[in-house]
């Protein structure tokens, strides 16, 4: 039986799940608190009891910006902080909408797509 710290670390596990089309986050068994980004032990408590659970994908825009970029380099794009329904916050992009039309409080849903050569969790307006 393998121990808690054996095998690939949490970042590798997260990316492997993502490659298989699953957005997984962690949850501390002792507190029930969800965790993102992937950690070795629960932040704050230090408990070695993090387990993987599938994220609902539901989120709310907490903060947003339009990163200005020349059209020939790909044009403007959105960067946003998304509060996941489970609690943790993550940096991502809201796609499928004009980057300037993203507003704080907007309900969004996760999807996995290629971004800069690797799968990534991005969000679309609900």
């Amino acid at each position: 039986m393998s121990g808690y710290f054996d095998g690939p670390g949490p970042e590798a596990v997260f990316r492997e799940h993502l490659a298989q089309g699953r957005f997984m986050i962690q949850r501390s068994a002792s507190t029930g608190r969800h965790v993102f980004y992937p950690r070795v032990v629960a932040p704050g408590t230090g408990a070695a009891d993090l387990e993987w659970v599938e994220a609902s994908g539901e989120g709310t825009v907490y903060a947003t910006t339009v990163t200005r970029r020349r059209p020939e380099q790909g044009g403007d794009y959105n960067v946003a902080l998304i509060d996941l329904a489970e609690g943790p916050r993550m940096l991502s992009r809201v796609v499928g909408i004009d980057p300037g039309a993203v507003t704080i409080g907007m309900k969004v849903r996760a999807r996995i797509q290629e971004l800069n050569g690797a799968p990534a969790v991005v969000f679309e307006p609900v």
Binding site: E11, F36, Y37, P38, Y62, A63, T64, T65, V66, T67, R68, Y77, V79, A80, L81, R89, M90, L91, S92, R93, G100, I104, G105, L115, N116, A118, A120
Partner: protein
Amino acid sequence: MPNLKFLRGKAACVGAATAGTGEAPGRNATELMAEAVHRALADAGIGLAEVDGLFAATAVHSMAAMSLAEHLGLRPKYSNGSNIGGSSFLAHALDAAMALEAGLIDVAVIAYGSNQRTAGGFRSVSEPMPFEAQYEPRNPITAYALAASRYMHQYGATRADLAAVAVAARGWAQLNPEAFMREPLTIGEVVSARPISDPLGKLDCCLVTDGGAAVVLTRPDRARDGSHKPVYLLGAAMAHHHRMISAMPDLTVTAAADSGPRAFAMAGYGPKDMDTVQLYDAFTINTILFLEDLGFCAKGEGKDFVRGGRIAPGGSLPVNTNGGGLSCVHPGMYGLFVMIEAIRQARGTCGKRQVDGARLCLAHGNGGVLSSQVTTIWGTEETL
């Protein structure tokens, strides 16, 4: 709260200098740092060979204290090159005070240097942020833009409120011959400047300049023998709650809300006692957040506080009297310049921008993406 009064006033600044601020073509970061050390020691009337404590950090050296010591031919008994971003030097001041008081060293030098402007722009030894880099945040500005967006949403602040910070800084810069940008500036010009990362435009962002800086600290007994009136470190405290902006618990509250009260408690003074306030203004939102978190106004009221020239020359609270990172100098890590302006105001050597009778001056450093916060309080002999 632990009583840190034993460290209060146990280190005094006896020398301070800048070098190559603005543009310093053909000179590298180490050379600018070394020149600043030479000038600060000359200002203090202390020889290089007496320096036995060395503190340095830059954005381009992985081991800045060693590189600088070697360049100068120093063999320090104690050094600290720890890097927590632009606030490093204020943390170094606290560390230097401890090392001086413990008797580990007799003369401490804190130094910084950067040639980023003439070397082609901002660069850093910083690693890409895991779980963020793929989305291409253009840090640091993306992070500060996100904080500004949240603050505006939560408290109803406008771009004109942010612009008031830049306009006040420019007003001070116009009184400072060392400032890089001295042309008049209006709120309209700031609001209509080219957008970089909404809601921040070009004039909401700090300058990209060259520059070196250094200060010399000793124990009070020695400081009183010098040619300058010593400026004492009365209080200092640091705090950090995150490294990446996505891990910042509340984008409208910085760790300055932790560091500030501890620094004031150590100094035995409060916000109302400060004659000048020097805040690390990498972006316009910084000044508003730090005024709130350090207790100069309530949370959410910073946007109102900065209106109508209150922090500009002639206003009721002199803030960033050198012109700040927005209009004076910002060579990548600006914290040491913040500290030097507080020290110069307490010395009374600021010329046209001198605040009459300035005795107590706060210098607050910020590092990373609103990440590390270090508050220091400096005062004249009579404030001890």
